[in-house]
């Protein structure tokens, strides 16, 4: 049986690598990658030294250390998720505005093109 420290370190390292690759390939924008990198680094550190959680739990008076770990994890994920929702709402408003502008501009361009096409005809009929 291998020591549990190795298991946690490997899991942390894999997560970090995935984030790293995603950023590298441009699938994840740098501005979002920042928080994910922070999460990755924390996971690696906690994987290397799981004792940290026990220490913090002892300091904060939590008798069952894994509970602290889960509470932090849920909190971080919640905040990330909320941020995503805000971001999507914002994007939808932007898309709507752009779509409306494009539709109107398309129409105006079409109108201009039509009047341009008609001009030579007008001069012809005038003759």
């Amino acid at each position: 049986m291998i020591p549990y420290k190795i298991t946690t370190t490997v899991i942390g390292a894999i997560l970090f690598l995935i984030i790293f690759m995603l950023v590298r390939r441009g699938k994840l924008q740098e501005k979002f990658a920042l928080t994910w990198f922070a999460i990755g680094i924390i996971v690696v550190i906690l994987g290397l030294f799981p004792v940290i959680i026990d220490k913090i739990a002892w300091l904060t008076g939590i008798t069952y250390p894994p509970a602290l770990l889960f509470a932090i994890a849920v909190g971080v994920l919640l905040i990330q998720n909320l941020y995503l929702f805000i971001f999507t709402s914002q994007n939808e408003v932007r898309i709507k505005e752009l779509l409306q502008q494009v539709a109107v501009l398309n129409k105006l361009v079409e109108d201009l093109r039509n009047t341009d096409a008609q001009k030579p005809d007008d001069t012809d009929t005038a003759h």
């Binding site: 709402s89 939808e92 408003v93 898309i95 709507k96 505005e97 779509l99 409306q100 502008q101 539709a103 109107v104 398309n106 129409k107 105006l108």
Partner: protein, 220 residues
């Protein structure tokens, strides 16, 4: 006073043409806004018949289509817009009843029809109306007139996050202090049996929830 009639449409081509022909007898400026209909071929028919139109590449919602109409009207210098559903529910006479009040300087004029809808639906709407503290009774009506100054406000900021042209629009317009009026009009049943906004019961429930959240968040 130059008025543009904006007709938002989404997949209702077969019923659209008679509606537009009826409108053309009374109004010379009509703009069809295609809200990303699946079949785009009807646009060329519209072109042949001399109707102006805007087209979205994908579906973005009834209210968004109307806002595009507002933007076009503002760019072209119209003094007001009347929104008119393309499903045959509204009659040109209704739009004609709205017009004089727009000339009188009202910012938002709603054409209502109290005869519409089933009793449970009516009760629901009444409850929502009470909760929101709205002066306008029939907030589901899509037959409305908007002044130029109202349109300028209604295309920006918080109005962009709305999905329906209904309570939300009226609620926020009322808060902005626009002069609003309700005019009784007569409407017929839709040519297509199903409502575009509420095709199923779940859509009604989801609408109720969204609107309740809206009221809950914005009510002072």
């Amino acid at each position: 006073m130059q008025i543009l009639v904006v007709v938002p449409v989404y997949n209702e081509w077969p019923h659209l043409l008679p509606v537009l022909e009826g409108l053309r007898r009374h109004f010379s400026h009509i703009l069809v806004v295609d809200d990303g209909s699946d079949d785009k071929s009807f646009l060329s028919h519209l072109k042949d018949d001399g109707f102006e139109y805007l087209s979205f590449p994908f579906n973005m919602g009834h209210w968004s289509a109307i806002q595009a109409g507002f933007r076009y009207a503002l760019k072209k210098g119209y003094d007001g817009v009347i929104t008119f559903d393309g499903d045959g529910q509204h009659l040109p006479e209704g739009a004609l009843r709205i017009k004089p009040y727009m000339d009188q300087g009202y910012d938002v004029v709603v054409g209502n029809d109290n005869g519409r809808g089933t009793l449970p639906k009516k009760l629901c709407w009444k409850a929502l109306n009470r909760l929101a503290g709205l002066e306008i009774q029939d907030f589901t009506s899509g037959l409305r007139g908007y002044s130029r100054s109202a349109m300028k406000e209604l295309i920006c900021g918080p109005f962009l996050s709305l999905h329906y042209q209904d309570l939300g629009v009226l609620f926020m317009a009322q808060k902005l202090g626009f002069k609003m009026l309700e005019v009784p009009t007569r409407m017929t049943d839709r040519v297509s049996e199903k409502s575009k906004v509420f095709p199923t019961l779940t859509s009604v429930i989801s609408y109720m929830c969204i609107t309740l959240t809206f009221i809950f968040v914005r009510r002072p």
